[in-house]
């Protein structure tokens, strides 16, 4: 009896050690993901801090200067206003297109689809989300640019419209995919309660506030 007790106690301790080791390893892996992201910020900031502390750095000129020409041999200018406005313009246009389409697709797939179409559409959306952004850029240059010239009479197709549409096309699959996961996480109890109270399927859309958990 004593022999069995001691044997099982030591086996227990060994298992507990193993358990703790694996748990700590997984904790380390999870922390490392966060650490690496912070590491990126740290190293970029360290490399650039020389410019920030050089005494010649003027925050107003940097943010509001209208010319960005860091490789000029005649006079370097570091105004990021054109870069900021470009990003803002393209992003706002892309979100104006992508959010309604993405959310609409999400709700359709999650609530109104037949199971066959749901699976087909989900797989297609995952494929679309996996297209590398280089390919989207190429599509923008080769396909969207002549299309914009032909349809809008612009002199050239490289424009905010082009960038906004391509960015929207890139974002819609990701919005739909994440949104669909979030809607699936809504407890069925909510849906069943709503149906029991007499709501139609369209009136079930108040499930949407739970979509915010999906970000």
């Amino acid at each position: 009896m004593n022999k069995f007790w001691k044997a099982s106690a030591s086996r227990n301790r060994w298992e507990m050690l193993q358990e703790a080791a694996v748990e700590n390893l997984i904790r380390l892996c999870g922390l490392s993901a966060i650490l690496f992201v912070f590491g990126i910020f740290l190293f970029v900031f360290r490399e650039g801090s020389g410019a920030l502390t050089s005494g010649q750095f003027n925050l107003f000129d940097f943010l509001a200067g209208p010319e960005w020409n860091p490789t000029s041999t005649g006079g370097t200018r570091f105004g990021t206003l054109p870069l900021l406005t470009g990003t803002l313009a393209v992003t706002l246009l892309a979100m104006a297109i992508a959010v309604p389409v993405g959310l609409g697709g999400t709700i359709f797939i999650s609530e109104f689809c037949s199971p066959f179409w749901r699976e087909t559409l989900k797989v297609s959306i995952e494929f679309l989300a996996a297209i590398p952004s280089v390919v989207w850029g190429f599509i923008g240059l080769m396909v969207m640019s002549p299309l914009i010239v032909a349809l809008t009479g612009a002199p050239i197709g490289l424009s905010v419209l082009n960038g906004g549409i391509i960015l929207a096309l890139m974002s819609v699959p990701i919005i739909a995919s994440i949104g669909e996961d979030a809607l699936k996480a809504v407890p069925d109890a909510y849906r069943e309660a709503a149906i029991a109270a007499g709501a139609t399927r369209w009136q079930l859309r108040p499930c949407e506030p739970h979509l915010s958990w999906g970000d």
């Binding site: 020409n69 005649g74 240059l141 010239v149 002199p155 050239i156 490289l158």
Partner: protein, 191 residues
Amino acid sequence: MGHDALAIYVHPNNPLNTITLDELAQVYGRDGRIVTWAGLGVTVPGAKSDEVILISRQSHSGTYQYFRQTLLGAHGDFRLGTRDLNGSKEVVSLIGSAPGAMGYSSMGYATPEVKTLRVGRHAGEVAYPPTAANTIAGTYPISRPLYIYTLGKPSQAVLEYMKWVQGAEGQRVVETSGYVPIVRQAGGHHE
């Protein structure tokens, strides 16, 4: 390892055929005064506006640096508002679809969808097309030699590769890619 000429590309419908370095500096330069095709003396049929749409390269490109140096001198700057593209090939394909555009790229990337201009140094001088013969002769004003650089003395394998590039086979590849091969001088050898 070879020579290259930077050709000025325009759309085939563009009636312009020749241009001088001075005009190019006025078109591409920061303080240049030519902004429309009317300023160059032509109207482009099919162009939606008279503005010269400048296609350029991004600032890390050797083509960009060389073009700026040749045209605008050591301290010149390009005009703001050029469309900066990523690669030599994209420049040519974009010009093929935009009648009001002008851009520069290696002459090896020419396609039937674009037209190259003859370039002269100054008004009244002969304007030469970007051909292999004009590049070697130095008559085409925007031509440059292409070099391979090594960090210090090259190792044996790298030396073999460089010898191959300068040999008959490598030069044949240079030629089929659209660049200009090295001219062999009798009795001499290139380092």
